[in-house]
């Protein structure tokens, strides 16, 4: 199609049942697309399944959490001098057929980071559980307020970035619930963020790893991180 070198970053923690399908769907979408699976200290056969499906596999020696796993993927993309990276979860909730919606704005130079939102206008998405919805709405409002740009889905891991985005996140990426703080970082680095409506699927495998008490802890932590992030100085490219 184009001469753009593009890589798909797929973080996976114990996703042996789903990760193979994700990779073959990516291959079906674009056979020339490179795929790197970051196996975040899985105890199952995630790494073997991913390698057998033809992906590059980076196996972390122990579980580092989603933020560090994704950042490892950005480092891989930076070292490999890729022009663009797309990020999707290893559990199959992000449909590769939706990727053109994310890549399009990058190709047209309209944004540096494109986020697939379940809630942006035009997206007719399934509604997540109440507790999760409260968190999503809370952070969407707070981030919109802080960055003065309307965002609707700050927890979406379905994203596409150009080389500037890759370079920044390879060096500095937040930890738990990284997407929320990353949105603020994108704003502080003066990169252009764009949300596009996408369809997401129900998780194919496993349940969300968040319990009620933990989610309160994460809410406090991420809120603190957001305000601190706003108070930080960042180099603007």
């Amino acid at each position: 199609m184009s001469s753009v070198r593009r890589i798909a970053i797929v973080p996976a923690h114990n996703e042996e049942g789903a990760v193979g399908g994700v990779i073959s769907e990516l291959r079906a979408f674009d056979p020339s697309l490179d795929v790197v699976v970051v196996d975040d200290g899985s105890h199952d056969r995630t790494a073997e399944v991913a390698a057998a499906a033809g992906a590059f596999v980076v196996s972390l020696p122990f579980n580092l959490g989603i933020g560090a796993a994704v950042q490892t993927g950005f480092q891989f993309a930076l070292a490999g001098r890729y022009d663009e990276a797309v990020r999707l979860d290893g559990d199959g909730q992000h449909d590769p057929r939706e990727l053109p919606k994310l890549i399009g704005p990058l190709e047209r130079g309209e944004a540096d980071v494109v986020v697939g939102s379940r809630f942006a206008a035009g997206s007719d998405e399934h509604r997540p559980a109440l507790a999760r919805r409260i968190g999503i709405v809370f952070f969407a409002r707070l981030v919109s307020l802080l960055t003065r740009q309307r965002v609707t889905d700050t927890t979406s891991g379905f994203q596409a970035l150009n080389a500037r985005g890759i370079a920044i996140f390879a060096v500095d990426y937040p930890h738990d619930y990284p997407e929320v703080e990353a949105t603020v970082m994108v704003h502080k680095h003066r990169l252009r963020l764009l949300e596009v409506p996408v369809r997401m699927r129900e998780r194919e495998h496993g349940a969300s790893s968040i319990t009620a008490l933990r989610s309160i802890y994460y809410m406090c932590k991420v809120t603190l991180a957001l305000f601190v992030s706003m108070a930080r100085r960042y180099a603007t490219p």
Partner: protein
């Protein structure tokens, strides 16, 4: 009753603690994960210091009639114990991970050396 000067001094100390912690996070010398406990500590101490009636009431509940500011010491000590215990768990996890890293590195070095000796790419 709590002497006013004790309340003022304790409030200033709590605010200083909070400011130092926030500045450390901003300068990336302290991770949010480890800062939350310190922030809670600072906030609780600040509330107990500034809200004099509250401190007196809590002291009453706990049977400390003579000198309510003792509750401040008790609260501070309790939080320090919690923070230290938390650090012990963090340290234990780091120890395990460090061992794993050293083992991985040693195995990898052996793998690379063998590959070099055999004059080809190492596999198996």
């Amino acid at each position: 009753m709590t002497p006013v000067r004790v309340s003022i001094a304790a409030s200033i100390a709590s605010v200083l603690l909070l400011l130092v912690v926030l500045e450390l996070i901003r300068g990336r010398r302290l991770k949010e994960r480890y800062a939350l406990l310190w922030l809670v500590t600072g906030l609780v101490l600040l509330v107990l210091s500034a809200w004099r009636d509250g401190l007196n009431t809590i002291a009453g509940w706990l049977g400390v009639g003579t000198y309510p500011p003792a509750i401040l010491f008790a609260a501070a000590t309790l939080f320090i114990v919690v923070v230290l215990l938390h650090y012990s768990t963090v340290l234990s996890k780091l120890t395990d991970e460090n061992v794993l890293l050293a083992q991985r590195l040693a195995l990898l070095e052996e793998h690379v050396r063998r590959g070099e000796r055999e004059g080809g790419p190492a596999d198996g």
